[in-house]
Amino acid sequence: MAHSASICRPERHTTSEGNTLTSLTKRALTGLALAGAASLVLAGCAAAPDASDSAVPEIDYLACAVSDEGSWNDKSFNQSVYEGLTKAQDELGVQINDAESASPDDFGPNLQAMIDASCDITIAVGFNLVDAVNAAAEANPDVNFVTVDGWSNGATNLKPIGYSMNQSSYLAGYLAAAQSSTKVVGTYGGMQIPAVTDFMTGYYYGAMAWGADNGETVKVVGWDPATETGDFIGDFVPNSGTSKSIAAAQIQAGADVLFPVGGDQFGAVSEAITEAGIDGRMIGVDKDIAASSPEYAEWILSSAEKRMTNAVYDIIKAIAVDGEAFNGDYYIGTLENGGTALSAITNYSGAQPQSELEAKLEELKAGIISGDINPLG
């Protein structure tokens, strides 16, 4: 091993004069340093690790998830669930399995793969999997399933997770109308399915409520809950050209606050805002986008959060750790139980003072929780 020790002697790069270098040479030096580091790694010179003990003892529980079309790192819907799964792995010590679906053809086989892998619980993410997961639950009565945004056709081994997204979206709509200088706000969806239009309907009535409270006419483009017509991309492909053209058309129609409900559409909306040269804002969905995707933070007004990470984690914890029995009851995330919420407000520049608006939003939240305000009109 003598020769390996000589290969493995680390080289030291001194960068004391780094401050005076131009950025170009700096970059070149960084490249060199990286190459040096890489060669160390490639030469295989690190010390061999000892058998390590993990922080959390593993427990005998296998939690699995199948994604909707799209990957686990979609910065939105699928990712929220996946983070719940990895959180359970890290903090509870459960085992996890996952499969991404590239097309609807994959839903059935992916669920079957989880059944074959003897998963204790399998989470089917998304409305589009509802047929497949109901079929799988009926065919495998002794396997437990969870459907996020779907429903159960009666199988007791299938637990639906749903969200009253209209509640936080109502607050988002109210906020959007307060922010807007044109008093035109826009929203559009990925697909016209209940899990999406629920956001848009709440947003619509929230914006209308601000108009009624302040005696101004507010217009919502992109969705009309009365006729159930509006703007939809047709899929959940992140930041597609269609998405951007819808955003641009809504800006053209006067909208200066947009609420895209279709996973990661924030790149498309921010581009449309920049290209139109307006002082526009967008409201995030599913996660606190300003925190999770800082590259969009400068346009984000707030986000209507759908806290799937917690729901998934809680369900796994209740069964795997607390020893509760699986049940097929609905879990509904609301403002009251914290399953949905409006994120902190950023970049607000409306005429109404922010503190006054925030107090009003708290009041509305309490009204929705008590049932005095119906976010669905």
Binding site: M1, S4, I7, C8, V41, L42, A43, G44, C45, A46, A47, A48, P49, C64, N97, D98, A99, E100, A102, S103, P104, D105, D106, G108, P109, N110, Q112, A113, M114, D116, A117, D131, A132, A135, M191, Q192, I193, P194, T197, E228, T229, G230, F232, G234
Partner: protein, 413 residues
């Protein structure tokens, strides 16, 4: 002919290359599959975290990296086997045999569409429009299966025949445009793919046309009526339906058509040399139209498989990647009936095995990479010769050489 300009020679070079690509031998196909698996193995090793971690202390304890690397390959291909052929981890026989039925289910549309593309190849046409032909056929099949009421049996036959006619007509349109206007079939088929996708989405969106009863603005159709569904072959425990039977029948028909029938002879003649065929009195233009129609008809079987094999409502992406996978199937299968059958089964197995590979943490793209490399290896040798103007090697393979020597010796004795 002594004054043949260089351009013509260059053309010949490319057409020779094209011909070699689509009619490569079985041995080369086998080697390409083998090489594809080797590349897939490298991909699996390279993306294995355990291996990369162990690599950083390779000199200190090399066995870790080697074990991890070998483990990644073994686990990966074992998962592919479990997912596509036989699940030896299953609790009961029904579950253990499910993978092979899934392979057959996924292979059926690939074989059917692969035959369609292969037929066009044999006539010297590149049918890149299988995707559009599937969508157009599925549109017609869905119209019959969800909007027409007919008794059991008859309903399925009518829906299936409608799909075949629709796909064949969509294919024939390409042949017609090529024959009458000289439009290149690659451009035409690609553009028709968009048109078919648009038409299907439009029909699935309109309530008065094919939109799901009670559905919203999302393009989706009703599930095909039970009378029009392809029957399950092995009972309720398996999703395998009669689509595979259609595909197998199609393989036999394709073989007879191309190797035994007069029209198949005419197809091949035009494919070998259109000018010679014309001189010999064959109506080349008409042959283009007929070939594209028959090609579309085979692809129509894939449409039947997708539209009538479904048990739930259809969405505009029912063609999946079948239209383009069919091209690779036809290439790997050397455009012959048994070749396409085997290639379709192989790629069907890849599709069926992908979920269990994901379960053990492998990226679902691995099989796609293997698939891509197989086709690359098939296409590369003649392509490279054409690009670098290398002469074709005189001894085609070492094996053939060795075989020739062996047989000569025997003959001498």
């Amino acid at each position: 002919m002594t004054t043949t300009p260089k351009a013509v020679k260059a053309d010949a070079r490319w057409s020779i290359a094209a011909k070699e690509i689509v009619s490569g031998g079985a041995f080369r196909a086998f080697l390409s599959v083998l090489l594809g698996f080797v590349v897939g193995a490298l991909f699996m090793v390279g993306s294995n975290e355990e291996f990369l971690k162990a690599l950083s202390y390779f000199t200190a304890r090399p066995t870790d990296a080697l074990t991890a690397g070998w483990g990644a390959i073994a686990d990966g291909y074992a998962a592919l086997f479990r997912g596509s052929i036989y699940n030896y981890n299953a609790d009961n026989l029904v579950a253990a045999l499910r993978p092979i039925t899934e392979t057959l289910r996924f292979a059926a549309p690939l074989i059917a569409a692969g035959l369609g593309v292969a037929l066009a190849f044999r006539v010297g046409l590149f049918n890149i429009g299988a995707s559009g032909q599937i969508l157009f056929g599925a549109l017609a099949a869905t119209a019959v299966s969800t909007r027409v009421e007919l008794p059991w049996g008859i309903h399925l036959v009518v829906a299936a025949v409608t799909a075949i006619i629709a796909s064949a007509a969509y294919g024939a349109l390409v042949g017609f445009l090529k024959a009458r206007t000289g439009a290149h079939e690659v451009i035409v088929t690609i553009m028709l793919n968009y048109i078919a996708a648009g038409l299907l989405t439009f029909a699935f969106r309109q309530e008065s046309l094919l939109r799901e009863t009670g559905g919203g603005g999302t393009p989706k159709s009703d599930a095909p009526a039970e009378t029009a569904q392809l029957p399950l072959l092995l009972g309720d425990s398996y999703m395998l339906h009669a689509g595979i039977v259609l595909a197998l029948v199609a393989v036999v028909i394709y073989w007879w058509l191309m190797e035994r029938s007069t029209i198949g002879y005419r197809f091949r003649m035009v494919g070998h040399n259109a000018d010679a065929a014309r001189t010999a009195g064959i109506n080349v233009e008409l042959t283009f139209v007929a070939a594209m129609a028959v090609s579309g008809a085979f692809v129509g079987l894939a449409a039947i498989n997708q539209a009538l094999g479904a048990r739930a409502g259809l969405t505009p992406d029912i063609d999946g990647s079948i239209g383009f996978d069919a091209i690779t199937v036809a290439l790997l299968g050397s455009s012959t009936a048994p070749g396409v059958l085997l290639a379709g089964l192989l790629f069907g197995a890849f599709k069926a095995g992908a979920p269990s590979m994901q379960v053990i943490g492998l990226s679902p793209e691995v099989t796609g990479v293997v698939q891509g490399f197989i086709v690359l290896f098939i296409a590369a040798p003649p392509l490279i010769r054409a690009i670098f103007r290398l002469p074709a090697p005189q001894k085609t393979t070492v094996v053939a050489d060795w075989w020739a020597r062996l047989t000569r010796k025997k003959a001498a004795k």
